[in-house]
Symmetry: C2
Subunit: 242 residues, 2 copies
Amino acid sequence: MPDTVPPSGSYPVSERNKVRRLHERGRYDRESVHAILDAAMLCHIAYVIDGQPYCTPTAFWREDDHLYWHGSSASRMLRSQKGGVAVCLTVTHLDSLVLARCGFNHSVDYRSAMCFGTARIVEDAAEKARALDVMINRFYPDRAATLRQSTTQELKATTVIGMRIEEASGKIRSKGVADEEEDYALPIYAARFPVRQVIGAAEPCPRMPAGVPYPEGLAGFTDGRRLDEIMLEAQHRLYGED
Amino acid sequence: MPDTVPPSGSYPVSERNKVRRLHERGRYDRESVHAILDAAMLCHIAYVIDGQPYCTPTAFWREDDHLYWHGSSASRMLRSQKGGVAVCLTVTHLDSLVLARCGFNHSVDYRSAMCFGTARIVEDAAEKARALDVMINRFYPDRAATLRQSTTQELKATTVIGMRIEEASGKIRSKGVADEEEDYALPIYAARFPVRQVIGAAEPCPRMPAGVPYPEGLAGFTDGRRLDEIMLEAQHRLYGED
């Protein structure tokens, strides 16, 4: 249970999601946390089987306070635990390398979000089929309706997992080089190297029939564009700006 | 204990690290696993406190079969558990978005590695000081010796955590669009969008005294270059090619 009453619009803060290390970087408001989540396609999910932690990368998406992903190694475990299992879903964007004047102040600028909840398999067939369409459209605007329909066998072979975000925290560092005051005068090279994840030009499948047009929904997928911008734009196109 | 005798040069395969889903993508040889680890600066670490899983992003580095990182939220827990704690350290590189002709075959090309071990705090002062120098040099060739020396207080405020890789697995998908044979003739747009993480041009700290030269060790840090290439090169420069 939360041990702090959160301001409206924020996630509750408890011992579980309180940012301890460099706590001044912590954010609990939905707007900050969602902006970090919605700019990502991949997350890492931690879960426990027989006391052993596992950390699995997977594509995920957000709908209000719910997160969804599909077909992870946790599926096997989830099938045997109808009550669901505790997970921590984390997203990290690396924004820069920070080279300071001493080892201690070397750092990176980043945006990360940790979300805590109870993962459950989406069992209802209609809910699952809808979720999979949403997954496609969330990443690739208006694409689901253009695809060959999923077969019963394909739907059966896919597990969709969902969780409500019970608690969450964001953490942001964006200040570049920050050294001790007395170190700035030292003749030591210090700099910030920005980092970005970008897409390249589309490589169309060589087996497409002639005349298949480039989809309008992928107009934002241009050579050299930041993936976090593309993902945030696609999320807003589907759901509006929160 | 491993339930399979691994080929020489490979990590043992057990129930813990066996790749289950799409197992044909699995790799257990050190060369494949290390190549994935060494191309990364950030990892995600899963650990458990009182049954609750946590997933924390952090910078890490590899030395033979050992992984090191510093100052994570797990530190608090580690202090109270001298025997160490079970962790799973995962690295993921996203290499492309794969847009297929049906939802089921949408995918991403990626390289990921999961490493299992027991995390312990590096207590010995000399070992810790050396580890922190190595950490700097592993990311930024020859940089540690150019920095203002760490103070006793800074060293005390830093926790270095290490683990031996007991088991590991890599997973690689790199085939781009792969559809059902009967779907290729459909008039549906299908393509691969390459994804890469790159650095931008150095943004030198404006408070540097005049005349501080750009370090030779950062010659590889050029505008637009892939971070995974830079990291792999820095690792090889420090340790040789495994």
